[in-house]
């Protein structure tokens, strides 16, 4: 089962993104806590792209595709903005965030804790970030 969303690069669209993911995940057996984690992780990546790669330009957009399989869920986030390599990005230490009174930097840390696999690739046209969550096999 595949779900696809074209998301315009405005922060006010994040609520729409959450509803879309929630709707797609409602078909799974995942607990409310797990569903919320996945919604959060995908939102963090998208918010990052909207703010940092697209400067909140409401005319640009990113694509989110959700592939639901019995063994795993794959979230594919595609855009054509400035490439942001999520794998090379180094998340800050929590203590440093507190000391430096930083407001940012926690999002991708959440993504790393929540997802089982994070992939990034870029070619001349698109950047693709692929997040995979394995589902428990019975």
């Amino acid at each position: 089962m595949t779900h696809e969303l074209k998301l315009y690069c405005e922060k006010s669209r994040l609520a729409e993104l959450r509803s879309f993911i929630a709707e797609a995940l409602s078909a799974t057996q995942l607990s409310a806590i797990s569903q919320n984690q996945l919604i959060l992780a995908v939102e963090e990546v998208c918010a990052n792209l909207i703010i940092h790669s697209h400067d909140c330009n409401p005319l640009s957009h990113i694509w989110l595709t959700i592939h639901l399989n019995p063994e795993r869920i794959i979230f594919e986030i595609k855009d054509s903005g400035k490439a942001f390599n999520i794998i090379e990005y180094k998340s800050p230490e929590i203590n440093a965030v507190v000391k430096e009174k930083r407001k940012g930097g926690l999002g991708l840390l959440l993504v790393r804790k929540i997802m089982d696999k994070i992939e990034f690739e870029t070619d001349h046209a698109f950047n693709t970030c692929r997040l995979t969550k394995k589902l428990k096999s019975k």
Binding site: Q37, L40, I94, V97, V98, K99, K101, K103, G104, K113
Partner: protein
């Protein structure tokens, strides 16, 4: 959607969060905490009973004030988080850095008995 209410009670302030905190509105939360800190109050409670969702943008706001709370001797306690929101604090271990209580009663107790 997020609405924030600030009320004074005894010697403390209660900041009640209603709705969802994300990158589109975390600045509102930031402003309210800044306002609370600008007064002379030494005790701040966050009522999270109606907080439905929080992303890193909201967590970051709380985190960015922890040093200010410490430096100014401000007691800061969050209470009433639902299990989804509590889980998000827990993933990053923020429940070890911020005082989080189940009920308003427990939260007030911790403010006044300390």
């Amino acid at each position: 959607m997020l609405s924030i209410n600030m009320t004074a009670a005894r010697e403390h302030l209660v900041i009640a969060l209603n709705g969802e905190v994300d990158a589109s509105n975390s600045v509102e939360l930031d402003e309210v905490i800044q306002e609370a800190l600008s007064g002379s109050v030494q005790k701040i409670l966050v009522d999270g009973r109606n907080l439905e969702y929080i992303s890193s943008a909201g967590l970051g706001v709380f985190m960015s004030y922890l040093e200010d709370f410490r430096e100014n001797n401000v007691a800061f306690v969050i209470f009433g988080l639902n299990e989804k929101v509590m889980n998000v604090f827990h993933i990053l271990g923020l429940d070890q850095l911020i005082s989080i209580k189940n009920t308003q009663e427990e939260a007030e107790e911790s403010l006044y008995d300390a």
